[in-house]
C-alpha cells in the first residue's frame, strides 16, 4: 500500500510541476489510482452497493457479495441514488451472482418505487438506471415493474429522456452546470451506459457524454479544484474546495489533488470507460494563462419568469497558480449558486476568496420548485440547512452582478431595502500568507505565489469565524458557524451598505513579480464609484491598463466598447469550442483535436 501511495504521490507531483504524462504512463497510473479506490471496497464487509459492485468486479468473495446484496435489498431506499448503484452492482455481478440474488434484484425493481425527483441530476440518474434495467429484463409486462410499465415502455421512455437531455445540454448548455458536488451524479450514469448499454448508440452516447462532462470540468480545473462560478455547491466545500466530490474525480481521471477512496468514484473506477488523453492534457496543461468562456442555462423556471431556461454566462481566467471565475450574477440557480471566486493552489484547505449577498426568499424558490410558497423555505432547509442563514456562504441574489475581464473582476450590488439580508460578505481564509489593508484602501492578500487585491467600495468590518468541530464533509449542507472561539479563524468581510461593490485584482508572481510590486501597482489604480439607489456604477482601469465601466445591473463596457454577453458561445477558449445549438464540441490541445458530434453520434480525431 505504501508503495502504491508513493507512486500515486509521485504522479500527482509530476503534474504539479508541469509534466504532462504520455498516454502510456497516464493509463498505467490511472489504472493504479482506480485500483486504489477499488481496494477500499472489495475488501469491505458492509452491505453497501459499492462494496458489492467491487467484490463482483474483482471476484473477491462473490458469495459474500451475494449475501450482502440480498441483505441490502431487504429495505430499498434512496430513490435514484438507489437505482444507479444497484444497477452498477448488478451489471458487474450478473454473470457471477446466485439465482437467489438475481431474483432479489429483479424483485426490487418490481416492488420498490423510487421517486423520480425534481431536478436534472435526479432525472439523469433515474432514466440512465431505468434504461439499463429495462435492457436487462426485456419483454416483461407492466405487472413486473414498479411503475406498471412494460420493459419496452420503460426502455423507450428512458432513452427518449436521455437523448433529449443530451440534446439540450449540447445546444444551450447544462442546467446544473459546473457543479463540484453534482458532477458525479452525471458522470456515473454516463460511464454505466458507456460500458453496459446493450443498445450500441446508447453506449456511444454514454461515452461521448462522459467525455463532454469531464472535458467541461477539465477546462475549469486546477490542481484538483473546480474553478467557478458554479450552479450548485454545498458548504463547506465552497470554502474548502478540495472537499467536493469533483476533486475525487480529478484525482481519478487527472491525477491531481489528493488520493481518495470516495464511494462516488467507485463505479467510475470499475468502469471500462477511459478518459481520452487529450482531455487529461486539457485538465493539467497550465503552461500558459488562458481565458475560457461558457454558456450554460438556468434551471427550469416554472413561475415568475418569462423564459424557461435563460442563459448563464461563465468567464474564467486560469493560470498555473490560480483561477478567477464568475457567472454574470442574478438568480441563475436557487439555493446553492456560487457566483464567483478565485481559487488558488496554496493555502489548503481554504484555497479560495469569494464574496456574495447572502439572500434567500420563498419567491426565489417558487421560481424553480412547485411546492407551496409558504412551506417552501422549511422544506428546503430540511436538506440545505444554511439556506435561510444570513451568514451562509452560498446562494444567488437578484441584487448582485459581475463584470470580469481576464484577472480583474468587478462585483456590484444594489440591494432592495428590507430584503432578507441587508449586507454583503467576503470570505478571506486564515491560511493566507498575508492579509492587510493598504492605506490606499486595497485589501492585499498573498497565498503562495498568488496575489489578490480587493477594493471595497463601501465601509466594512472584519468578523473572525470558526468552524464547529466535526464540521466535515459528512455534515455538508448543514454546517453552522460560530464566532466566539479565539484565537485563529477565517475572516468575513461584512459591509452593511445596500449600494455596494468591490473590485478584485488577481495576479501571480509569474505574472507581476514580487508581492510589493503588486501592491504598489494597486495603489495607483483606485476605482471611481457612484453608489446611489438605482444608480450603482464604477469605472476602473485595471493594473494592466484596460478600462472597465460597469453599471448595475448589466451595463458592461470594456475599453469603450459595450460587452454583449449574448454573443458568448457554448464554449470558447484555447481548449474547448462549441457553437450554441451545434450539438458539437471541439476539444483542442497541442495541435490535436477531438470532435464530439452528437448529431452524427460520431467522434473524430
Amino acid at each position: 500500500m505504501m508503495k502504491l501511495l508513493s507512486i500515486l504521490c509521485v504522479g500527482a507531483a509530476a503534474v504539479c510541476f508541469g509534466q504532462i504524462q504520455d498516454p502510456e504512463t497516464y493509463l498505467r497510473e490511472y489504472t493504479e489510482r482506480a485500483a486504489h479506490i477499488v481496494a477500499a471496497f472489495d475488501t469491505s464487509t458492509s452491505a453497501s452497493y459499492y462494496t458489492i459492485a467491487a467484490r463482483y468486479a474483482t471476484r473477491n468473495n462473490v458469495r459474500l457479495a451475494d449475501s450482502l446484496f440480498v441483505e441490502a435489498l431487504r429495505e430499498p431506499r434512496g430513490d435514484m441514488f438507489w437505482m444507479f448503484p444497484v444497477m452498477g452492482a448488478y451489471l458487474h455481478g450478473k454473470d457471477k451472482m446466485s439465482e437467489e440474488t438475481r431474483a432479489a434484484v429483479r424483485n426490487a425493481w418490481k416492488t420498490y418505487t423510487p421517486y423520480r425527483g425534481d431536478t436534472e441530476n435526479h432525472w439523469c440518474m433515474y432514466y440512465a438506471s431505468l434504461f439499463l434495467a429495462a435492457e436487462q429484463w426485456p419483454g416483461l409486462p407492466g405487472s413486473e415493474w414498479y411503475n406498471g410499465k412494460s420493459s419496452d415502455e420503460n426502455r423507450i421512455e428512458a432513452k427518449e429522456y436521455l437523448i433529449e437531455w443530451i440534446r439540450i445540454t449540447t445546444t444551450i448548455g447544462q442546467g446544473e452546470f459546473d457543479s463540484p458536488d453534482y458532477l458525479p451524479e452525471y458522470v456515473i450514469p454516463m460511464v454505466l451506459l458507456a460500458q453496459f448499454a446493450q443498445d450500441a448508440d446508447m453506449r456511444t452516447r454514454g461515452r461521448m457524454m462522459a467525455d463532454y462532462l469531464l472535458a467541461d470540468f477539465a477546462v475549469d480545473h486546477l490542481e484538483g479544484q473546480y474553478i467557478g462560478g458554479f450552479s450548485r455547491i454545498y458548504q463547506p466545500a465552497v470554502y474548502k474546495p478540495l472537499l467536493s466530490q469533483a476533486s475525487a474525480f480529478a484525482w481519478l481521471y487527472f491525477g491531481t489533488g489528493k488520493p481518495t477512496q470516495s464511494g462516488w468514484a467507485l463505479l467510475p473506477a470499475l468502469s471500462s470507460y477511459r478518459l481520452p488523453h487529450i482531455i487529461y492534457r486539457v485538465a493539467v496543461d497550465r503552461s500558459k494563462p488562458y481565458v475560457h468562456k461558457e454558456r450554460k442555462r438556468v434551471r427550469n423556471i416554472i413561475r415568475l419568469g418569462s423564459e424557461k431556461n435563460p442563459p448563464v454566462y461563465k468567464y474564467s481566467f486560469i493560470t498555473k497558480d490560480y483561477g478567477l471565475s464568475s457567472l454574470q450574477g442574478g438568480i441563475l440557480q436557487p439555493i446553492q449558486q456560487h457566483t464567483w471566486s478565485v481559487r488558488f493552489t496554496s493555502g489548503e484547505p481554504y484555497t479560495t476568496i469569494f464574496g456574495l449577498h447572502p439572500y434567500w426568499s420563498a419567491l426565489e424558490l417558487i421560481m424553480f420548485f412547485p411546492e407551496e410558497e409558504r412551506m417552501m423555505i422549511s422544506d428546503v432547509v430540511a436538506s440545505k440547512g444554511t439556506y435561510n442563514n444570513p451568514d451562509k456562504w452560498t446562494g444567488s441574489s437578484p441584487f448582485e452582478r459581475t463584470f470580469q475581464h481576464k484577472n480583474t473582476l468587478i462585483v456590484l450590488y444594489d440591494i432592495e431595502p428590507g430584503t432578507t439580508t441587508e449586507h454583503i460578505d467576503g470570505f478571506f481564509p486564515m491560511t493566507l500568507d498575508h492579509r492587510s489593508v493598504d492605506p490606499s484602501g486595497w485589501i492585499v492578500c498573498r497565498a503562495g505565489d498568488t496575489y489578490v487585491g480587493w477594493y471595497p467600495l463601501q465601509e466594512y468590518e472584519w468578523i473572525a469565524e470558526y468552524e464547529k468541530p466535526g464540521q466535515t464533509k459528512n455534515t455538508i449542507g448543514r454546517p453552522e458557524m460560530e464566532t466566539d472561539r479565539p484565537p485563529m479563524g477565517n475572516w468575513r468581510l461584512r459591509s452593511h451598505k445596500l449600494q455596494n461593490g468591490y473590485v478584485v485584482e488577481v495576479r501571480s508572481k509569474a505574472e507581476i513579480g514580487a508581492f510589493n510590486e503588486f501592491t504598489a501597482k494597486l495603489r495607483a489604480h483606485i476605482p471611481k464609484a457612484t453608489l446611489k439607489p438605482g444608480t450603482v456604477s464604477v469605472e476602473y482601469r485595471t493594473i494592466d491598463g484596460a478600462l472597465m465601466r460597469f453599471s448595475f445591473p448589466d451595463g458592461r463596457v470594456l475599453n469603450g466598447k459595450r460587452v454583449d454577453l449574448k454573443r458568448t458561445r457554448l464554449f470558447e477558449g484555447p481548449f474547448l469550442n462549441a457553437e450554441v445549438g451545434s450539438e458539437r464540441l471541439t476539444i483542442t490541445h497541442g495541435g490535436e483535436r477531438r470532435v464530439l458530434d452528437f448529431k452524427a453520434l460520431r467522434v473524430t480525431e
Binding site: P114, R116, G117, S143, N147, K149, A158, Y161, I302, E373
Partner: protein, 330 residues
C-alpha cells in the same frame, strides 16, 4: 318448504341490508405528499394514496406506490373506486381495477402534477394540471396532449356541462368552453390563484382561493368576481369545499387558517379551528352521506375530522402527513 323460503328470504334481506350498509358508507381517499419534511434520497415514511371508511376512524389503508409525493387524486364516481388516479412527482398513477394494479400513465415529458380532474360523464376524459401546464387525455391517460402552458394548481370540470373547465393558475383563473382545447382568462386575473370550486347546484357560482389575496366569488361563470372579506383574517387559501346537500354551507382552508366556515354560501365566514395541531389546511371534503362530517387535510399533521360541521376537530390518522387532497366517494 314455505318456512324454508321465508328463512332464506330473511337471511338474504339481512345480507342485503348488511351489504347496503357497507356500500352506503362512503370511502375517504387522501393523497399524502410527504410525511414531515421530505428529502429526496432519504428514507421516507409511506406517501401516496390512502383510504378508509369513516367507521374505521383512525385506520388508513395504503394503495399503490409508496414513495411518490402524491399531490392530488381523483376517483371516478359511481364505480366503487375502481378507477382512481394519483397525481405525483413521478407522473399520473392510474388503477382501473380498484387498486390491485397501478400504472404510471405519463412519460418523462410530464412531471410535477398538482391536479387531476375527471369528466364524470365520460371516464375516458382526464385532465391534469402541472408545473408546466394542463394536459388532456381522451383515453384514460394512455396518451396526452398539452392544452395550456403555465403553472397550474387546480383544474375542475363543470359538473353540469363537461365541455366547461376551470383552472387556477399562476396568472389568474382560466376557463375553457371546448373541453379543454383552448383557454381564456376569466375576470379573475390575480397572480397565483390557487384553487377553484363550483357550487353543487348552481353552475355559474364559483369560489376561488388565492395566494396572499383571499377568497373571490363569481356568480356568472367567472366573468366577474368579488372579493369575500367578511370574517376573514387570512390571505392564502388552498382549498374551498361546498356541503353538497346544503350549499349555503362552505368550508375553506389555507396557510395558517384552520378552517373557515360560511353558512351563507361564502358571503361571510367564521374561523373554526378548535383541535388542530397545525393550522395549515390543504384540502377539505364534506361527507356526501353525513354532511355533519367534514375532513381536513393538513400540511404536516395528517387528517382531521369534524362531526359537527366544522365546530370542533380531532386528528384521525396519518400523523405528520402533508395531505394534498381528500376525496370522498360513495
Amino acid at each position: 318448504m314455505v318456512i324454508r323460503s321465508v328463512i332464506i328470504a330473511g337471511l338474504l334481506t339481512c345480507l342485503m341490508v348488511s351489504l347496503y350498509g357497507q356500500t352506503d358508507e362512503p370511502t375517504v381517499y387522501v393523497s399524502v405528499f410527504s410525511t414531515k419534511l421530505f428529502v429526496v434520497g432519504a428514507a421516507n415514511p409511506q406517501t401516496g394514496m390512502f383510504f378508509q371508511k369513516p367507521s374505521e376512524d383512525t385506520v388508513w389503508h395504503h394503495t399503490g406506490a409508496k414513495n411518490i409525493r402524491a399531490n392530488a387524486l381523483a376517483v371516478f364516481p359511481g364505480v366503487n373506486g375502481r378507477i382512481r388516479y394519483t397525481a405525483s412527482g413521478n407522473g399520473l398513477h392510474r388503477t382501473r381495477d380498484g387498486g390491485r394494479s397501478w400504472k404510471i400513465t405519463t412519460g418523462w415529458r410530464i412531471t410535477e402534477i398538482w391536479a387531476v380532474a375527471l369528466d364524470r360523464t365520460d371516464s375516458m376524459n382526464v385532465f391534469i394540471g402541472t408545473a408546466y401546464g394542463i394536459y388532456k387525455s381522451t383515453d384514460m391517460g394512455d396518451t396526452w396532449k398539452q392544452v395550456f402552458t403555465g403553472f397550474v394548481s387546480c383544474v375542475i370540470v363543470d359538473r353540469f356541462d363537461p365541455s366547461i373547465l376551470y383552472a387556477a393558475t399562476e396568472i389568474g383563473l382560466y376557463k375553457s368552453t371546448d373541453r379543454g382545447e383552448t383557454w381564456k382568462r376569466t375576470g379573475l386575473s390575480i397572480d397565483r390563484t390557487r384553487t377553484v370550486t363550483q357550487h353543487p347546484k348552481d353552475p355559474l357560482t364559483l369560489l376561488a382561493g388565492t395566494e396572499n389575496h383571499g377568497i373571490y366569488a363569481s356568480s356568472n361563470g367567472g366573468k366577474t368576481w368579488e372579493k369575500r372579506e367578511a370574517g376573514i383574517d387570512h390571505a392564502t387559501f388552498y382549498t374551498i369545499a361546498y356541503d353538497p346537500r346544503d350549499p349555503s354551507i362552505v368550508y375553506a382552508g389555507g396557510y395558517a387558517t384552520g378552517v373557515y366556515r360560511s353558512t351563507d354560501g361564502g358571503t361571510s365566514w367564521k374561523r373554526t379551528c378548535q383541535g388542530f395541531e397545525i393550522e395549515h389546511i390543504h384540502s377539505i371534503a364534506v361527507d356526501p352521506v353525513h354532511p355533519n362530517r367534514v375532513y381536513a387535510g393538513t400540511m404536516g399533521a395528517g387528517v382531521y375530522r369534524s362531526d359537527d360541521k366544522g365546530e370542533t376537530w380531532r386528528a384521525v390518522g396519518l400523523p405528520g402527513a402533508q395531505v394534498g387532497r381528500i376525496v370522498i366517494e360513495r
